[in-house]
Symmetry: C2
Subunit: 426 residues, 2 copies
């Protein structure tokens, strides 16, 4: 049985190289070689780093789908309808599918799971969520019996790289971004990462599995890292923490049918928390279950080889299942309910620059009072002669209340500027 | 198909409680209930916390082994020949086995794997190594295709609890141990933990799987935490680190048949290293592979419920395999070779109390010179008027050389006392 490979870019190329290098060893371990039967690309003439024989290349999807020798299709094309169609076609042709495609899974998870079930084949996607970290299999198999209450983690390497730079070198977001782009840690168009959308896609997949309930990327309440300034880092540091972009899924542990809460947000993470020390492009995910307590998984969240390693694990698992005519089952609830945005509650850090004049603080405080937002701590810095920088740390409060507070504050004459709203990880 | 439970103590009792609490949910997920058919104990009259119907209890192993309805045996008895015999009998009767028994696995791993293979059944042991952390399944499945070079971690919660106390409260080993015993973190006889033997058992199992090669606990080069003093912590702190008991398995990544190096030793771990922040009874394990790079797994290393959670994961996996008449395969190399103790090399911290007299330092340094041990850094503290405390940090050197150095130093008249030898985690 052969593998059909769709896409041979960063991850696909690394996979070809990995199979080439580890081939003999894997053949010994598995009792048969892992052989690539066909590789779909856009441009067969392109120079490729991986050791590829030209006659494997094709530009026709049907060359892969219609090949009876190919029992397993590995989709590494990237976002878009073409890749979605290719996965559907592969499952339709009763081939198992391995994919790293977070965009597609975060929107079509349930459809594709059901298609795989109908075909009695597997769809595996370890590489779609946290690069080389074997999180999906841990959730699907090792933690299958656990009642999970919460998953929180750093699942976007680009933003974590940028935030780490800002923290360690006291530089602006723009400077850190430019550096990340130069080093290849951020793409030319970084908006998917910086807006939190990429993390939200991954979170949707994680939450779907953790709660056995379909979560779409659109269900995720998302805030990204645009607008974070060095002064936010100063405040975080004085509070004993650092700023991280977190993805979090929660559910009331005592009620298996409770609504799910899924969010991506920048937060102040206390230095004693293990997530605070996750640096650079690394990823780390905390999982909390009723019996097991707290687990943490961390490792490289992206990169050709680590991602190819996760793809390889899926390939091996899928091939073992094909051999024994079994498949990994999922049990999905389809009528997922979500916590309403407005009822989300947390501790927030909110800062504003105000005119440095008597009575301003009471004016600002009054606005918090209107919305019943209780203040746990306030700090005031002089910015220059005329402006002061106020930071408020709230008690646990509703997101809707803090947003209403921000809106009313923005209308005050004394407010010069509102800063990024930050969550505090408790 | 029913489960036969051997032992109903801390872990077995927690498992019964967990199955009781999660039973309905699991039955829905699995399509059939997970039912315990029989429970073997020593004393059926004993008061038990878990909700157990008395007529399930038996004191006869044969009541479990000969029960045709029981397809899966869960062994949670503890060390000893009785448990070993029970596992053999269960596999002999073609029942799959789930066990948490590190003592037995670290000595009879290969025999039991082969017996399971002969019976076409599974033997699973997630709970034997790191409590609730799903490490074994990650190594067996997710990292099956990886060429692993190194596994290093904290796998004994008792010693980590004691070392954390010593570090944070500047107390002696004896005081910390007494506290740990009082709180139930250490047993009345703590020697298995403090000697490093418990960590060595776990390491033997981890290494067997990671390298697909049989490693026995006797193959592990072990040093425990006896003899570590607050002044060792002071030195570690001045060096920017903390002291941890590490279990480490290594192999040359470029040679799959290279000898294996397996060791348990106390080490100075730099504060920037993620293992430095693993506190209390938590466990954490680093895994390094050729493609995936560095992964870390952490969580509760012991405790009834977390351990029962890992047992439950194994039960579910084994039952799924029984249903589809498949099993998880292992490929074991039997003629494992080990790196010889004497050729192990590392960076060491060695400290001695000496008479505070002129010429002493040169006398001591000369001994290092004899054994070609090169010194990277030296520190001298006055202890009181007459004694000085010398700490040497070596360059990378052989364990045999440092041991010979220590032996020759012990014979010097000017040496009052040699302290514990510490490794430095690079
Ligand atoms: N890169 C990472 O670190 C990483 C990490 C985790 C997950 N992923 C996911 O892995 C997937 C692949 O990412 P990548 O970085 O490897 O992408 P990439 O470097 O852009 O490679 C895409 C490959 O797909 C081929 N392709 C694209 N559209 C095609 C079409 N319409 N017809 C035929 N071939 C087409 C391209 O062909 P040509 O070579 O001819 O252009 C190329 O070989 C994505 O879903 C991504 O989200 C990537
Ligand atoms: N405790 C942990 O946190 C932990 C963590 C990881 C792994 N483990 C492993 O899990 C296993 C069980 O540990 P545990 O802490 O649950 O032990 P435990 O509390 O001592 O319980 C042992 C149980 O086995 C029964 N038993 C022992 N010898 C027996 C015999 N000869 N015949 C019949 N019954 C016998 C005892 O019966 P009675 O109840 O009648 O005395 C008791 O129910 C051990 O292998 C341990 O290493 C434990």
């Amino acid at each position: 049985m052969k593998i059909g490979l769709l896409g041979c870019g960063t991850v696909g190329g690394a996979l070809v190289a990995l199979l080439d290098q580890e081939g003999d060893r894997l053949a010994r371990l598995l009792g048969e070689p892992l052989e690539i039967g066909r590789i779909l690309v856009r441009d067969p003439e392109k120079e490729r780093v991986a050791p590829i024989s030209k006659d494997l290349l094709t530009t026709q999807l049907s060359d892969v789908i219609d090949d009876g020798e190919i029992g397993l299709v590995v989709e590494l094309l990237g976002p878009g309808d073409f890749a979605l169609g290719a996965i559907r076609a592969a499952l339709g042709a009763k081939k198992s599918v391995v994919t790293a495609n977070k965009e597609i899974l975060s929107t079509h998870f349930l459809e594709l799971e059901l298609a795989a079930e109908a075909a009695s084949r597997d769809i595996f996607f370890e590489a779609a969520v946290a690069g080389g970290i074997p999180l999906i299999r841990a959730l699907r198999v090792s933690l299958f019996g656990e009642r999970l209450s919460r998953i929180v983690g750093i699942v976007n390497g680009t933003t974590n790289y940028i935030l780490t730079k800002m923290q360690e070198e006291h530089i602006s977001l723009d400077t850190a971004l430019a550096e990340a782009q130069q080093l290849g840690y951020a793409e030319a168009d970084p908006s998917g990462d910086l807006s939190g959308r990429d993390a939200a896609s991954k979170l949707a997949i994680i939450a779907s599995i953790a709660f056995g309930s379909h979560v779409d990327v659109e269900d995720v309440n998302v805030d990204g890292i645009w607008g974070i300034t060095p002064s936010d880092f100063d405040f975080a540091e004085r509070s004993g923490g650092v700023i991280k972009l977190l993805a979090q899924a929660e559910r009331d542990i005592d009620d298996p049918d409770a609504p799910i809460r899924v969010e991506v947000f920048p937060a102040i993470v206390m230095s004693t928390h293990p997530l605070a020390s996750v640096r650079g492009s690394f990823n780390a995910v905390f999982v909390e279950g009723s019996a097991v307590g707290q687990l943490m998984f961390s490792g490289p969240g992206a990169g050709g080889l680590p991602t190819a390693s996760a793809v390889l694990a899926d390939i091996i698992d899928a091939i073992k299942n094909l051999r024994t005519s079994t498949r990994a089952s999922m049990s999905m609830v389809t009528d997922t309910r979500f916590v309403e945005d407005s009822s989300i509650d947390a501790v927030f850090a909110l800062s504003v620059d105000v005119a440095d004049a008597p009575g301003v603080l009471s004016q600002v405080s009054e606005v918090f009072g209107h919305h019943l937002v209780s203040i746990a701590r306030m700090e005031q810095d002089e910015l220059d002669g005329e402006l002061a920088h106020l930071v408020f740390l709230t008690h646990r409060t509703r997101l809707s209340a803090i947003k209403a507070t921000m809106a009313e504050l923005a209308d005050l004459d004394v407010i010069e500027r509102s800063h990024k709203l930050l969550r505090v990880l408790e």
